[in-house]
């Protein structure tokens, strides 16, 4: 009797979400090609946390690994959601920007190098406030420079999700891969409830949160490209496909007229029902949005 007869498929599946930030990044590379850069033993920590009584981490929660994906050059930058909520500080932000810039430099010199961003983050690290925000502006700029030459693929797997300024990084990416367990948005529910009141957003309403920010909805609306099961092999394979495809002819964040017209057509006299909006915008299932 084979194992598949005894156990359902999910028992044999290797969860991606359960991997830490480093293992996630490593799992995407062709065997034996991955090399970590500015790793924990280089000890480039945040210079701002310890002076505020917060323990730093030796890699600042940002893992950079270079290697081959599907035979092509790529760099993966992975945020560790368990350290400070994956927030962007001076060092983690600079690592991401520098990796993107080096990939751009190589691509311009003829060695196309794709970037994969594994984003588990609430956005700016508040202990580094203005340097975190500035770092995010630079990350966005560097994604835009690279995607002219090679694809920038953002993966939001969960469970932290991708919020705050880093949601713009997802927005300017060439492709966005999500799981059902992932969420993507500018403002998290708690922030909205705090700023605009519980009538605007009840942050305890889990169904509402997933209906708005969840991977199924984002892909269904065409605001992300692929909904992939939480399975390390399937996620790696989706990424490989996008690395090989190269950048799209037109990026989502260049399609201003399409989205501006959609916003103009919204009835804003009441809250918008996520499901009907999904049907209106895409009329599609969750197998991939039109770009």
């Amino acid at each position: 009797m084979s194992t598949s007869e005894i156990f359902p498929a999910f028992v044999n599946r290797k969860s991606f979400i359960e991997l830490d930030g480093r293992a996630r990044a490593q799992s995407l590379f062709d065997e034996g090609t991955a090399k970590e850069l500015v790793g924990p033993f280089d000890r480039v920590e945040s210079p701002w946390l310890a002076i505020q009584g917060v323990t730093p981490q030796a890699d600042d929660g940002c893992i950079v690994i270079k290697g081959k994906i599907g035979g092509l050059s790529a760099v993966v930058v992975s945020l560790e959601g368990a350290f400070q909520g994956g927030s962007i500080g001076e060092v983690s932000g600079a690592k991401m920007t520098a990796a993107l810039d080096l990939a751009t430099k190589d691509s311009e010199a003829g060695k196309k190098t794709a970037a994969v961003l594994l984003l588990e983050t609430g956005g700016v690290r508040l202990q580094e406030a203005n340097l975190g925000l500035a770092a995010i502006a630079e990350v966005i700029s560097s994604i835009l420079a690279l995607r002219q030459h090679a694809p920038v693929i953002t993966v939001v797997a969960g469970t932290v999700g991708c919020f705050g300024g880093m949601s713009l990084a997802a927005g300017v990416s060439s492709y966005v891969v999500m799981t059902k367990e992932a969420r993507l948005g500018l403002n998290g529910p708690e922030v909205i409830e705090q700023e605009s009141g519980i009538d605007e957003f009840d942050a305890s309403d889990r169904a509402l949160i997933w209906a708005i920010h969840g991977g199924e909805q984002r892909v269904g609306m065409g605001e992300a490209d692929a909904l992939v099961e939480d399975d390390a092999d399937k996620i790696a394979s989706a990424i490989r496909g996008y690395v090989q495809a190269g950048p799209p002819s037109e990026h989502r964040s260049e399609q201003v007229k399409l989205y501006r017209d959609r916003i103009a057509a919204l009835d804003t006299s009441k809250q918008i029902d996520p499901i009907s909006l999904r049907q209106k915008w895409n009329g599609n299932d969750t197998t991939g949005g039109a770009r």
């Binding site: 033993f41 323990t55 981490q57 030796a58």
Partner: protein, 98 residues
């Protein structure tokens, strides 16, 4: 936040590998373990929870009663319990003894 240092001069066995495990998340910590330059082991801890020097000492005394590698250990801690500290140390040892 507190800095704590310990020396274990008796731990002299030569080590060649490095190990990195854990994460500085709530109730957890990261361990950087690598060959020490000279003889003996050295431990350096940065912890967000003050006043537990004795507990740390007890954990490392116990750890070095069984382990004799000349390692340099750096720990960044966000409130790991003694049990999880030992677990993380054992994971690191598993990597360097591979």
């Amino acid at each position: 936040m507190e800095q704590i240092e310990f020396d274990y001069p008796a731990a002299k066995r030569r080590i060649t590998k490095k190990a990195y495990v854990g994460v500085v998340g709530s109730g957890d910590m990261e361990v950087l373990m690598e060959p020490a330059g000279g003889d003996g082991a050295h431990v350096s801890i940065t912890t967000s929870v003050n006043g537990f020097q004795d507990s740390w000492k007890a954990v490392f005394d116990r750890f070095f009663s069984k382990f004799d590698g000349a390692v340099k250990i750096q720990i960044n801690d966000a409130g790991a319990t003694p049990g999880s500290v030992l677990l993380r140390l054992e994971q690191a040892v598993e990597v360097i003894e591979q």
